[in-house]
């Protein structure tokens, strides 16, 4: 269905109207008045890093490991190595050994953030949901060393992220909104954000579906 539609330049009719328009730079005045109109309306940008964007639930930030909430001493990860197999960039590695009772024990889990392309394939494949994608997107570091994470760091980061999500749910902060974080605690996930550090900003107008509460 549908058809081809010809679009091309249309010459304006010659005449007095065109002359007058030409003389007074009519189209340029129009453009300027449009800019002026928007100059008087409220800004729609957010002031990062004072304001922060809360990523949606499906967002794929840094990868982290989680534990079962009830059995905190036990790893959720069963060491099946599927995540390592599907990772397109080889960012993950795992060292396992045989435990006392014959179960597989995860000795070390290595995540190289500098190789990761944040595709979320590892999280998708994990059969026990031991891996999660956090909404943490502020991952710049001074040195390459800090971009390597081991099992302990991954578990800590996963735990913090779950805590932060609880805080945000309690405060009623929805995903895809803008929040204000007190200046000293600019990095959302890494710097252990406490409940009182998060504020809800009301001052960005709502022109697109996203904007804040």
């Amino acid at each position: 269905m549908g058809d081809y539609k010809i679009v091309t330049y249309k010459e304006e009719k010659k005449g007095l109207k065109k002359r007058v328009k030409q003389m007074f730079f009519w189209e340029i005045l129009q453009g300027m008045s449009l800019t002026f109109k928007y100059m008087l309306s409220k800004p729609i940008t957010m002031r990062y890093p004072e304001h922060k964007w809360v990523a949606p639930d499906r967002f794929r930030g840094q990868v982290a490991l989680v534990r079962d909430e009830k059995k905190m001493d036990q790893d959720l990860c069963v060491g099946c190595c599927l995540c390592i197999r599907v990772c397109p960039s080889g960012a993950l590695d795992i060292i396992t050994s045989m435990g006392k009772d014959g179960n597989k024990v995860i000795d070390e889990y290595v995540y190289d953030m500098s190789r990761c392309i944040y595709c979320g394939m590892c999280v998708e494949i994990c059969p026990v949901d031991a891996l999660i994608s956090t909404g943490n997107y502020e991952l710049a570091e001074d040195d390459m060393e800090s971009l390597m994470m081991n099992k302990e760091a991954l578990l800590k980061s996963g735990h913090r992220w779950c805590e932060l999500k609880k805080i945000m749910a309690k405060k009623g902060i929805k995903s895809q909104s803008v929040i204000r974080v007190k200046p000293a605690k600019w990095t959302l996930e890494r710097a252990n954000v406490r409940e009182e550090d998060l504020e809800v900003t009301p001052d960005i107008p709502n022109i697109y579906p996203k904007k804040p509460m």
């Binding site: 091309t8 949606p56 392309i117 979320g120 697109y208 579906p209």
Partner: protein
């Protein structure tokens, strides 16, 4: 004394750091004062070896990488790839998945054209439209982020379906966005359509006749600007496009202004397509149930040994694609985007060739700039809508 004043041909490197080359494009110019004698584009500054990379990845693993080709419209790239693999496998995605794919692709097309609008205008000295273009693009990226979890690198398409279903409230938000967006298209018209400077800088520049455009192998809006009625969505339909009602804008003269008008009209047509999809979208599965591509549910894995084996097999070995060759093509925002895959019956492609529109659209550059000013060259680069990510592969 006098021989020092003799006019000599000067060789100048335009780019790769020049702000109006839209990335890392280098053009070697042979100049006589400000007039161009010859122009030679040099590609390859962003070469990442995609085609070789694909030979070492399983079919599944290559999906997130396809998004990095044409980073302005990631959904279209991945769709073309999964379409090729699906053709080889003989798998078809469920209808709901196809609708979601088309919505995502058309949103991507809008986002890409918005960047083009701003970038082409900023090359010619109009710094305002890019602000408005990016404002609307922000709304699109938010929708796509909600849908797929990424703003530019979506990793959303899967062989045999899509990764996620539409999130709650997506349809309403999308409708709301489209309504605002249709209003905002008028802003661009005010700024550019009738603007005397824009018209003077683009009309009659870079004129390609229909025959020349076909001979140079142009596709997409650059070809349609010359008045050739060719659009892969109509001429070689794929997905659900035959069921949708939309027009294809074609130009007449073949200059930059007509290419601008074609893209501007595509805004409206894309909005029409998305609106129809939102109205018609059926319920159902989002992933094909073919056992070669579909993994068992995670809940079943630890209860059922067959599911466990199947799950691990697909995860460890990837999808095995039968022996054969296939070419798939789609209409990307810049033209025909295709993948040619040779499979030897293993889980990795034997050879994968990517047909990207930008470098081919750019071949008439030397022909078009002869005897023109450098200022026209920036207008030409803008008019062809370059993306260096896909040019250099």
């Amino acid at each position: 004394m006098l021989e020092n004043l003799e006019r000599r041909e000067m060789v100048l490197n335009f780019g790769p750091q020049h702000p109006s080359t839209h990335g890392v494009l280098r053009i070697i110019l042979w100049l006589d004062s400000e007039y161009i004698h010859k122009a030679l584009p040099c590609f390859g500054y962003l070469h990442r070896g995609f085609e070789k990379l694909a030979e070492n990845k399983t079919y599944d693993q290559f999906v997130p990488i396809t998004n990095r080709l044409d980073y302005l419209a990631g959904m279209c790239n991945s769709y073309s790839y999964v379409l090729a693999v699906e053709k080889l496998l003989g798998v078809t995605a469920p209808r709901r998945a196809e609708y979601i794919r088309v919505i995502a692709m058309e949103l991507s097309r809008l986002a890409s054209h918005l960047v083009w609008l701003g970038a082409a205008a900023i090359d010619l000295g109009a710094t305002t439209p890019i602000m408005y273009g990016f404002r609307e693009r922000e709304g699109i990226l938010d929708l796509l982020e909600k849908l797929s979890g990424g703003r530019m690198t979506f990793a959303f398409m899967r062989i045999g379906g899509v990764k996620f279903d539409l999130p709650d409230g997506f349809i309403d938000e999308c409708r709301k966005f489209l309504k605002i967006f249709s209003e905002k298209i008028k802003d661009y018209d005010v700024l550019l359509q009738k603007n005397r400077i824009w018209i003077e800088r683009t009309r009659g520049i870079g004129v390609l006749s229909a025959k020349e455009a076909i001979n140079y192998g142009l596709t997409g809006p650059s070809l349609r600007g010359s008045g050739v009625k060719f659009d892969v969505r109509k001429n070689d339909p794929y997905s659900i496009y035959p069921e949708l009602d939309f027009d294809i804008p074609v130009g007449k003269v073949g200059d930059i202004y007509d290419r601008y008008l074609v893209r501007r009209e595509e805004f409206r047509q894309s909005v029409r397509i998305i609106e129809q999809c939102l109205d018609k979208i059926p319920d159902g599965a989002i992933m094909s149930d073919d056992p070669r591509v579909c993994r068992p549910k995670k809940e079943d894995v630890f209860d059922n040994v067959e599911s466990l084996i199947h799950y691990c097999y697909i995860a460890m070995e990837g999808i095995e694609v039968p022996k054969g060759e296939v070419y798939s093509r789609i209409e990307g925002p810049r033209g025909e985007f295709g993948y040619y895959i040779i499979s030897q019956g293993t889980n990795k492609p034997y050879r994968l060739f990517i047909r990207v529109p930008t470098p081919i659209n750019f071949t008439p550059l030397n022909h078009l700039c002869q005897g023109k000013l450098i200022a026209d060259l920036t207008a030409l680069i803008g008019g062809f809508d370059l993306v260096l990510g896909e040019t250099d592969k």
